[in-house]
Subunit: 245 residues, 2 copies
């Protein structure tokens, strides 16, 4: 099952036809990108909506003097802004972290969805609202949390999101971000990211080595990061949230 379908089914129960429609769209117009390359650049005219099939990517913005901020991460199953093509130009860039494959989704695809696939349309709205909530949470993270809280929070978020897409084990996941990436995402310097990771290691909250992240005690990491998963809205109608699902 595709990461997208797997993720959306955490919120909406899809029919076989819904799933087929999504999988068909994800198999057309596929492109691949090498690590550390741009999928789209600030200033360009947005043409298609991108669905991440495999690999990690990020949105980033850059100031004239070179300061860079990663404003969000894209994991497999994530979709960049719906209807982005109504805008004249991109206000940010999208770049890859690892090798990435994407499917380009056309305006017509979304017309088809809203005409004949109401559950998928709802699921896409859920995706949009959750993305907005994540962005607000990042604002909170950068504005109020200390360096170690911030790092713990980011690691929790990524782990939860990977698990949602079926990409994490019980307490570990593949983790391709460098300390420089973490610095750009948290607004900290590289040196301080290193210090902060050492601190989390010393508290036995994380094991991070060779592109692999292990979280021996997720509960403690969550409380270290003042992490509350409510903003991910993992609550399908009529179902209680199970932390291990």
């Amino acid at each position: 099952m595709s990461h997208l379908v797997r993720k959306l089914e955490n919120f909406v129960r899809l029919s076989a036809a819904d799933r087929m429609m999504l999988n068909r769209a994800a198999a057309q117009r596929v492109r691949t990108f090498a690590p550390r390359t741009d999928i789209a650049r600030e200033g360009e005219k947005p043409k298609d909506v991108h669905l991440i099939l495999n690999g990690w990517a990020c949105r980033y913005k850059q100031l004239e003097d070179g300061r860079r901020q990663i404003v969000s991460f894209f994991l497999p199953g994530d979709i960049c802004d719906l209807n982005i093509f109504i805008l004249r130009e991109m206000d940010h860039s999208i770049g890859t972290i690892t090798a990435v494959s994407i499917a380009d989704l056309s305006r017509e695809f979304f017309d088809e969805i809203s005409a004949g696939y109401p559950r998928v349309a709802t699921a896409f709205w859920w995706e949009t609202l959750v993305n907005a909530a994540i962005q607000r949470e990042w604002t909170m993270n950068l504005g109020q949390r200390t360096a170690s809280e911030r790092m713990a929070h980011l690691l929790c978020e990524l782990f939860f999101r990977l698990r949602l897409a079926g990409l994490a084990d019980e307490n570990s996941c593949s983790f391709p971000l460098t300390q420089a990436d973490l610095a750009e995402a948290t607004g900290l310097s590289k040196v301080h990211v290193n210090r902060t990771l050492q601190e989390l290691r010393a508290s036995n909250l994380i094991v991070l080595k060779g592109k692999m992240l292990v979280l021996p005690d997720l509960e403690r990491l969550m409380s270290a990061g003042l992490f509350n998963a409510n903003y991910l809205h993992l609550d399908r109608e009529g179902r209680q949230l199970d932390a291990n699902e």
Copy 2:
């Protein structure tokens, strides 16, 4: 003309019927709130989409230990998340700054829009995309800009947005935020906000007194805040952006 219509017409040309539809919705189910009260609280079930008719409000989030972050401001003409009612609970609170009047927009209203008012539907998508872009810009602001850049940037953003809704003069606007509000929005301490404002005053970039903000030299303030208005997407098809419009 309502602030909402005025704002949306910066992006999409609306028909008389479109405008009538919007104005009718804005006249029904109106509620008013005193300054410094909550319109909605984190944890509640979202029921309606709120349209701000008059006054200033904000979204905020709070940590268990009391740290508060304002994650966005609502100005007259702003709409809180479309389709928010598909979620089970609010992940943030909405509170007023000044006295505020809002109109509650129902699910049925949006059904009507998507069935028969395509230009309004597009305009609402534009609103959604711009709100997302603003939230990303705040992430950038908190992550990379220094205190004075950050403050200058925020002031520019608010001034541009007010002007869009027809609420600013040539180089001034009403400005009800306290220094404590600015602190919660910028992630700075109140004392440092004060220092930062003094600095902007000393550079003759702002005059801020008695709930009134004057920007004697917007160009210089923009460059002090590394402000680039592209993320507000003020670019109606076929029209060049005019900085004074």
